[in-house]
Symmetry: C2
Subunit: 204 residues, 2 copies
DNA sequence: GTCTATAGCCAGATAGAC
DNA sequence: GTCTATCTGGCTATAGAC
């Protein structure tokens, strides 16, 4: 039955994604994936050859979720300010849905740089040239203070992504419970955008 | 010979640190540590019992390098502005010396939250209460625009740490080579501080 | 203290029955 | 396609000679 085959493939992929995201490539166990998916371990090999093949599929799939988020800053038609507000506002909900994503990608790429080969030819792989040009334009128009588009791009993603990546650690620096830290993250939906805009727009 | 014993212990620790930082706990191999340290694998067990004990030692040692960096923002007597400038300026060189540190700590804590037990009782474990109070004071004095100390703290470490953590990825978003990205990071030594200060100080 | 040899385990992968 | 049983290799850890 063709549909069942696909169902199972997807169940394995979905579960593998969960396990790889939690434990990373080196820490993940095929048996763990099989158990959580309620299937026999051999079936994973039947459908996906080996651990590495499965991982590469998951890795690309995960990147396909992240890439559009980044591209939103780069490719839509809003002003720089609106881009920042929109991205910052949406990022919180995105993280609620996909908590481990960026930790996973960044870490695996650091541990095993070979994976870049898989990524850089990805159809959605972000390139910030358009954003750089837009920033230059708005600086020339006097909307923004003089700032380099590359630096601004780094500011934006740093202020948004890092507080989630290092959440458990920062939370302890603040000696606060999970609920309080979630509230802090939530208020960053607007706080971060205000902070950036306040720095880069000309005051009257 | 007592001195030789200590020499070897330190050689193992130093090498173990290197390997754990590169590969993480799950990816590190005892054989790899032995080979790079030019000693017999059994010796590691003789000196440090097992992999886990060795890892915990390394982990705490690594955290002892990071903690003072964070505490610099929190505990010295400079104004908020000077703290930001100083930390931001020094962080680049710190990263040149210890490139994998924060990735390692943050990732291991995400994969295995149990390690927090080892950390939270660490004598240098940072607590940002003093910084919060200082920010509140400077806001009341009109030096800073109204801003929450916790949010500002998160801004500062995000803008500094993340660009290094995600360096390989961001570099490719920019389609630039390593040298260019290093230049970008280097100019952030002052750029980031200006960016923050520009947002949080009152304009004349 | 340092080595060799190996025990013992566990994980990924495969053979082969059904 | 799905299962059981098993192989194979790799890794941690230890026993024991020197």
């Amino acid at each position: 039955m063709q549909t069942k085959r696909i169902e199972i493939e997807e169940k394995i992929l979905k579960t593998a994604k969960k396990v790889f995201l939690e434990k990373g490539m080196a820490g993940a166990r095929m048996q763990d994936i099989a158990d959580r998916a309620n299937i026999n371990k051999s079936l994973i090999h039947y459908y996906f050859k080996d651990k590495h093949s499965l991982f590469k599929l998951v890795f690309n799939q995960v990147f396909s979720i992240i890439a559009p988020q980044i591209n939103e800053i780069i490719n839509n038609d809003f002003s720089v300010e609106d881009k920042i507000r929109k991205f910052t506002y949406n990022y919180y909900d995105f993280r609620q849905e996909h908590p481990h994503l960026s930790n996973f990608v960044i870490n695996e790429l650091n541990v095993n740089p070979d994976f870049f080969e898989t990524l850089t030819c990805h159809p959605l792989f972000p390139n910030i040239d358009k954003f750089k040009a837009q920033v230059r334009r708005e600086v020339n128009q006097g909307i923004l203070v003089p700032i380099d588009g590359e630096q601004l791009f780094i500011h934006i993603i740093s202020l948004n992504i890092f507080p989630f990546m290092a959440a458990p650690l920062i939370q302890r620096f603040m000696d606060s419970d999970n609920k309080h830290y979630q509230a802090i993250l939530n208020s960053r939906k607007t706080e971060v955008a205000d902070f950036i805009i306040n720095s880069i727009t000309r005051k009257i």
